[in-house]
Amino acid sequence: MHELPVTESLLKIALQHAEKAGAKRITDLHIVIGDLASMVDDSIQFYWDIIAKDTLAEGATLHFRRVRAELQCMTCFEKYHPNRDELICPKCGGVGAKIIAGEELALESIDVD
């Protein structure tokens, strides 16, 4: 939903690290996105192609590692992968769960020349 600011932030972080390392060019970005982060890979790619132009990162390939959402029921402590729009515990019907994974939105590493 906020792919533009996210992509801008991504570019800024990548450029900072590349410049610090004295790199001439960024060739690849390794990004991790949780399923609950509401981010669409294609939109990030779309904005990327526009905003990375004329920077060290122009033409870099974006690699997305997706992380599945995982919740833990606070009633029976079952861990489960929720369906879209349904967070209730499949075992006991318990409501209100802790999010264990799925909110990630991070740049893990970059490849540079």
Binding site: H2, H17, A21, A23, I31, V95, G96, S109, D113
Partner: protein, 218 residues
């Protein structure tokens, strides 16, 4: 030479860093600040309108409004007695972020106020991801929205310091199981401070106003 550089940085960190700067300026000016979030129509502007007259002669209040592109909401706040009311034009964005708040803060002499109320854009998803740097985050839930909201928008309910349940005057007319709602809230955010009130009848507003006064005095 090709090389892999580990980064491991959260992508929204730029916003979080700015939020910290906002927090520092608010702190050094000695002003208490709240970020009011809710879905459209839950009663953000109504709560501000009801709160301001009750703070008259007690606190000097500034309101920053990002709810919509027009100045309707900030005009309502000014009319209700805000010493300053500033409208942020989000350009259609679905949330406020720390940069927008900073722009608005620069227009105010923060030392002239005791309390800053920020009305965020009406949205139950996005504002949760963008810290502004205020002291407390407030979520307004309203009775007609239904009692299943904590289950559907856990991200929003998890991150807030206080929860206002508005429009309790409508409880007799709509199916809203307070127990079920509160159980969801409890599971996600057991320490959240909760206020049940009605901006229509004024019921429950005193406790909320008292909480603002106490926090502003700190």
């Amino acid at each position: 030479m090709p090389q892999n550089i580990p980064v491991v940085e959260n992508i929204l960190n730029a916003n979080d860093r700015l939020a910290e700067e906002n927090f520092a300026s608010l702190e050094s000016a000695g002003i208490f600040s709240v970020n009011v979030m809710a879905s459209p129509g839950a009663g953000k502007t109504s709560l501000i309108e009801q709160t301001l007259p009750r703070l008259k002669d007690k606190l000097r209040v500034a309101v920053i409004d990002g709810d919509i592109a027009t100045s309707i909401d900030s005009d309502r706040a000014a009319k209700a007695g805000a010493q300053a009311a500033i409208q942020i034009n989000t350009g259609g964005d679905c949330h406020l972020d720390a940069v927008m708040l900073r722009g608005a803060l620069e227009k105010l002499d923060l030392t002239q106020f005791d309390l800053l109320i920020v009305e965020n854009v009406g949205n139950l998803v996005c504002p949760a991801s963008f810290k502004l740097g205020t002291h407390k985050s407030i979520l307004i839930a309203s009775v007609p929205e239904g009692d299943d909201k904590p289950y559907k928008y856990p991200g929003m309910y998890r991150g807030v310091d206080a929860l206002v349940i508005n429009k309790i005057d409508l409880l007799p007319y709509v199916p809203f199981k307070m127990d079920y709602f509160q159980r969801g809230v409890q599971a996600l955010n057991p320490n959240v401070k909760t206020f049940q009130l009605s901006c229509r009848t004024g019921e429950g507003l005193d406790a909320w106003v008292e909480w603002l006064i106490q926090n502003s005095a700190k």
